[in-house]
């Protein structure tokens, strides 16, 4: 195969052995999302302590890209402050896996790559807006999530 690679060693490895895979019972934040076209369907679980992501897990079914990106996302945000996580950009995630090219080359597969990030942004939004009644901190995460792809 030529062109920009999708199925790198790292992606295959993560898809076979995803990190932070599983459920958190009674998680502070639980967010479900799916891509109707390809059947990626995940749940993201987050616990917040001391304004930090104290724990994060995900489970569900998805393609290799979705599994790899969800794994890497959870690795990257674990232990981070909510303030930092709110600012998390899609490029940071994509470049970690060498998938920046998907934005241009595959409008279909980019959805697989960013599904968990969308769930994260929506999840944190509803944590602030609904749970903490803190619309200000929720900021424009909802718009960001909705416009991710």
């Amino acid at each position: 195969m030529s062109g920009d690679p999708i199925y790198t060693e790292m992606i295959i490895e993560y898809s076979r052995n995803p990190s932070n895979y599983g459920k958190i019972e009674d998680a502070h934040i639980k967010r479900h999302d799916s891509n109707p076209l390809c059947g990626d369907s995940i749940d993201l679980y987050l616990n917040i302590d001391d304004k930090k992501i104290s724990d994060v897990k995900f489970d569900g079914k998805g393609c290799a890209i979705c599994m790899a990106c969800s794994s890497v996302l959870t690795e990257m945000i674990k232990g981070k402050s909510l303030e930092d996580v709110k600012k998390f950009e899609k490029d940071e995630l994509l470049s970690e896996l060498g998938l920046e090219h998907l934005i241009k080359t595959s409008p279909v597969r980019i959805k697989c790559a960013l599904l968990s990030l969308k769930a994260l942004k929506f999840g944190i939004y509803s944590y602030f807006a609904d749970k903490m009644n803190d619309i200000e901190s929720a900021g424009n995460l909802k718009e960001e999530a909705a416009n991710l792809y």
């Binding site: 062109g3 199925y7 390809c38 059947g39 079914k61 290799a64």
Partner: protein
């Protein structure tokens, strides 16, 4: 190469009529188009007909008296006659042009359903329906307080028709809405049996023929159902044309689906009388050009002969199933007997997500479909999120099937299986 019988086209000739089959895709790979259940490619005969129409005849129909309008009207109505002949329909006014199978089914759900289905009634469908033969009935039954029931499938991907008997025995069933051929599993429904059971107790039957008419001989007069729907684009024709056939006596008693031009006889300020059939159900300017060009697709299929189309697919499916059954880690869903299915093979490869399979083999130029195929109810039943689907047509070759299977090796390599 597969031989197609005398006085028709050879497989090579057929392939030469489809310009897109010469396409190179991705890294200069020959296109291997195996997504024919989604839509088929178009032969030059159809493409030329579209150009000819717009270059020489374009006009609105049924209204003006000028030369172009008369030519267009005549050609438009000629397609209706051609369909009648192709499917053995006795009354041409029972053929209604719509946008596709989806619109045909929605028309019935709206115009017939709202006057004939009430609280306490039952509408029966099946687990292997396309969303277009589920969602309109969900909406109708939820609105009216009727109940929606499903005929389940067994491990071979065939319908458990004993369940239909049970439903019919309640005396509450108003309609059975069922596909002639499943778009995911390729299963051919025992449709004569279904219709007979329903007729015996006076229950109406709607047949979704989107995957049947393109692939086998269909005789509507002989079927004796009440509604039959299909799409032109799945049988070499243009997109945007679908056909609803329904019995005259039923259509006459149905209210119109949409109001507007063409469907009226007289319009006054506060009342309107409806036009005759089929125009009562064809409001507004129809898809004139594409209906006219659809005739070229029917001519093309008629020239090949639907028995030859079917035999070609049986031979390909047999070949594919034999080869695929030897591939390690391949799970095939649906009937394993090519006589019981049309040229559709749904499969999964080890635990690789279908989207990954499709992306990797696309690099080899192989176009298959991956996903839920607008049949999420069926996916739930099969307990998978998605499947891969390869679907064949008159121009598909055994070499293309080989390319598909060879490409799976690429998937195995990437995923280190």
């Amino acid at each position: 190469m597969i031989k197609i019988q005398a006085n028709t086209y050879s497989l090579e000739e057929i392939r030469s009529h489809f310009p897109v089959l010469n396409r190179r895709v991705r890294d200069d790979k020959r296109l291997v188009y195996l997504d024919n259940a989604a839509t088929t490619q178009k032969p030059n005969q159809v493409i030329d007909a579209i150009t000819d129409y717009y270059q020489n005849h374009n006009s609105n129909i049924h209204r003006a008296v000028h030369a172009l309008a008369e030519e267009s009207t005549e050609a438009f109505e000629a397609t209706r006659d051609k369909i009648a002949k192709f499917l053995n329909i006795q009354n041409r006014e029972e053929i209604i042009f719509v946008r596709g199978t989806t619109e045909a089914i929605n028309l019935v759900a709206y115009s017939w359903g709202r006057d004939n289905v009430q609280k306490g009634d039952i509408v029966v469908t099946t687990e292997y329906e396309h969303h277009s033969n589920i969602v309109p009935w969900q909406v109708l039954t939820q609105e009216t307080g009727a109940e929606l029931k499903y005929i389940n499938i067994d491990d071979n991907g065939e319908l458990m028709l004993e369940q239909l008997d049970e439903y019919l025995a309640t005396g509450k069933v108003k309609l059975v809405a069922i596909s002639h051929v499943s778009n995911v599993l390729g299963t051919i429904t025992d449709i004569h049996n279904v219709i007979k059971k329903c007729k015996n107790v006076g229950v109406k039957v709607l047949v979704d023929g989107a995957q049947a008419v393109p692939h086998m001989k269909v005789d509507i007069d002989n079927l004796d159902c009440d509604f039959y729907a299909f799409s032109a684009h799945k049988m070499l024709g243009p997109t945007g044309v679908g056909i609803l056939w329904a019995r005259k006596d039923i259509l006459e008693n149905m209210k119109p689906f949409q109001g507007g031009g063409d469907m009226i006889r007289e319009v006054h300020k506060y009342e309107t009388t409806w036009n005759d059939l089929p125009y009562k159900f064809e409001a507004g300017t129809p898809n004139v050009a594409d209906v006219i060009c659809f005739a070229a697709a029917i001519d093309y299929l008629a020239k090949i002969g639907m028995d030859n189309v079917r035999n070609h697919e049986i031979e390909l499916t047999k070949y594919a199933l034999e080869k695929m059954s030897k591939v390690k880690g391949l799970t095939i869903y649906g009937p394993k007997d090519p006589q019981k299915a049309s040229g559709v093979i749904s499969f999964n490869f080890n635990d690789v997500h279908p989207h990954d399979v499709a992306t990797i083999i696309d690099k080899n130029g192989v176009a298959i479909r991956s996903g839920h195929h607008c049949a999420q109810v069926l996916m739930e039943k099969l307990n998978v999120a998605a499947t891969n689907r390869a679907s064949f047509y008159i121009y598909t070759t055994k070499e293309e099937v080989d390319t598909l299977i060879d490409s799976l090796e690429q998937v195995a390599k990437v995923f280190k299986l």
